[in-house]
């Protein structure tokens, strides 16, 4: 039984087809209790389908999955008691106030009216929605809507939470707010499965990552491992004086060993680097030369770049995965 206690979500060989399109082509995943799994991938990669199967909203065509030790098909009612679902598909009622939405869910979960109201007020306060609580949800901003969605999925105090692209379409401020909330939930011991299109988000929140493409897992591991697999980061240096661009370029070239690109318009020098080890050298040389900089940063590859890198070798990896599955 110890494995049941330690593994919150486990899936083997999940397959789901919609007509002729294959949304999931055999996905395995494991999420240890109390950790965050980030599922990364572009639109149509199968992320949402996986979440819907694990959330008991869809039946897999093949394979099986357990959540909290309960089978998602045969023991779906038990699974529903321990999960919370938030995302593009499980939404609040836009025509009701935030408060009423939460009270309704509390009542559906069997709370007496007074308790449901108390719980709603508690959650509204926790998500900084108390003032907007009596307004109908249609009038909320994007960030408020996501916070209400999150609150709605937490009414029953679930131990496992699915977040399907929780920050897509949010501005950076609202996104940071949602991230903060998710971190607090994890601190409280909640297991989280998070799908996202943003590498940055997965990197900020997840303990481990899986990259989906066309219904398959093309890469998985800890964020640092994946980034190493995805390849180079970019070192950006922006001198305070645009006149120093050439000297900065020379310093970077010497430290990194690669001729950097000089963007004259934005006054920034960029060089591809395998990791951050060259950064202190660049800093020291700049200091010695007495050149002030306004920006010195290591930039992660964009999702596009990661994808090119990962799906690029996927042609080789795929066969390995398929052979593994066939055994």
């Amino acid at each position: 039984m110890s494995t049941t206690n330690q593994v919150a979500i486990s899936a083997e060989g999940l397959v789901k087809k919609f007509g002729t399109t294959t949304a999931l082509a055999g996905v395995d995943l494991t999420v240890p209790t109390g950790t965050v799994l980030g599922v990364l991938g572009p639109n149509g990669a199968g992320k949402t389908t996986a979440v819907r199967i694990l959330g008991t909203l869809l039946r897999p065509d093949a394979g099986h999955a357990t959540v909290g030790g309960f089978d998602v098909v045969r023991e779906a009612p038990r699974v529903r008691e321990i999960i919370g679902l938030t995302g593009q598909y499980a939404s609040v009622d836009e025509d009701m106030s935030g408060h009423r939405n939460l009270v309704m869910i509390g009542r559906l979960l069997g709370m007496p009216r007074a308790q449901a109201k108390l719980r709603a007020a508690e959650l509204l306060e926790r998500f900084e929605l108390s003032e907007a609580g009596d307004r109908i949800a249609k009038t909320y901003s994007g960030g408020m809507r996501r916070r209400l969605d999150l609150a709605a999925s937490l009414v029953g105090n679930p131990s496992i939470l699915y977040l399907d692209e929780p920050t897509t379409g949010l501005d950076p401020h609202a996104r940071n707010g949602v991230w903060e909330t998710i971190r607090n939930l994890v601190l409280d011991g909640t297991t989280v499965l998070l799908t996202t299109q943003y590498l940055e988000e997965a990197d900020a929140l997840a303990d481990s990552l899986m990259v989906f493409d066309k219904g398959r897992v093309v890469a998985s591991g800890r964020p640092a491992e994946l980034k190493a697999q995805a390849g180079r980061q970019t070192l950006d240096v922006r001198p305070a004086e645009p006149g120093h661009l050439e000297r900065v370029a020379a310093i970077v070239a010497e430290a990194v060993g690669v001729r950097p690109t000089v963007d004259v318009v934005n006054a920034v020098v960029s060089a591809p680097v395998p990791d951050g080890t060259s950064m202190p050298i660049v800093v020291r040389r700049l200091d010695e030369a007495g050149i002030a900089v306004t920006e010195l940063s290591l930039r992660l590859p964009s999702l596009d770049e990661v994808f090119l890198a990962l799906v690029g070798h996927a042609a080789v990896q795929d066969t390995a995965v398929l052979e593994g599955a066939g055994r």
């Binding site: 039946r59 609040v92 009622d93 009542r107 559906l108 069997g110 709605a152």
Partner: protein
């Protein structure tokens, strides 16, 4: 921020043991629909202004012509019971459109991810809409009374007529629940609904006596459940034979529920 203040998971386990939880859940979801009506009164146009406008139009535009030498005063007692049926039958369509909308917006996925009875959201939607149907009955009857309509067969029978048409609506609406779950868009539901509604209501004895219709249409009226329901309405409100049309209407109600409620529930379980 700590879970220590939150309800322990054990409370959920206790919930499972309550045998009538599904009734409470359905009522909670019916309450949701009523709250939505209160917060979105413009969505009620189909059960408020539409019946009034229909009544006024048919009464004043066609009344003189149809009343065969009489005036709209003479047409009102004939028209109102029929129009009541048409109004309520039309408002059942909104049930399917609303359900489809709930699915499209993801509200139903929220319900389906909660540990509640599978049928509760459907029953809740239908019960909530019973309030809309009732409202349309009250509005149309009130307008009728202002224009001079009176129950000629006792108030009790008149109210019984209103109850029968309400129950008919609650049976008929399962067709729209089913289609609302089957079809992709609300527009699709509405399109098919109108296709079915027009022959059912206009191809009937609502506006004119069956005898004035050509032969093939008379055969249709004989099997049209709406026409039998209209006979029940007129019988109860104005006096006349009730038993036979009432039996036929009850049979239709049972049949509609027996066929379309299971289909709807199946579509609901399968909808992905």
């Amino acid at each position: 921020m700590s879970t220590a203040t939150l309800e322990p998971v054990a409370a959920h386990a206790a919930r499972r043991s309550r045998p009538f939880a599904w009734v409470e859940q359905s009522l909670t979801l019916a309450w949701r629909n009523i709250v939505r009506i209160k917060q979105n009164p413009e969505a009620l146009a189909d059960v408020t202004f539409q019946p009034i406008i229909f009544l006024l139009l048919f009464l004043f535009v066609f009344g003189g012509a149809i009343a065969n030498g009489g005036t709209w005063h003479d047409y009102l007692p004939y028209l109102l019971p029929g129009l009541l049926v048409q109004t309520v039958v039309f408002s059942t369509m909104g049930t399917g459109v609303g359900l489809n909308d709930d699915f499209a917006k993801g509200v139903f996925d929220r319900f389906r991810s909660l540990p509640i009875a599978r049928v509760a959201p459907l029953i809740g939607a239908v019960l909530g809409d019973a309030v809309r149907y009732t409202l349309s009955i009250v509005i149309l009857m009130t307008t009728g009374f202002i224009l001079g309509f009176r129950f000629q067969n006792g108030v009790g029978n008149g109210l019984l007529a209103c109850l029968v048409v309400l129950l008919f609506a609650l049976s008929l609406c399962w067709i729209w629940v089913w289609l609302g779950l089957k079809l992709k868009t609300a527009q699709g539901v509405q399109g098919i609904a109108f296709l079915v509604m027009f022959p059912l209501t206009f191809g009937s004895n609502i506006f004119v006596q069956t005898g004035t219709l050509p032969g093939f249409l008379q055969s249709w009226v004989k099997i049209n459940p709406v026409a039998h329901l209209v006979d029940v309405m007129r019988g109860l409100m104005l006096g006349g034979p009730v038993e036979k049309p009432l039996l036929i209407t009850l049979a239709w109600m049972v049949g509609l529920i027996a066929v379309f409620a299971p289909l709807a529930i199946r579509a609901y379980r399968r909808r992905t």
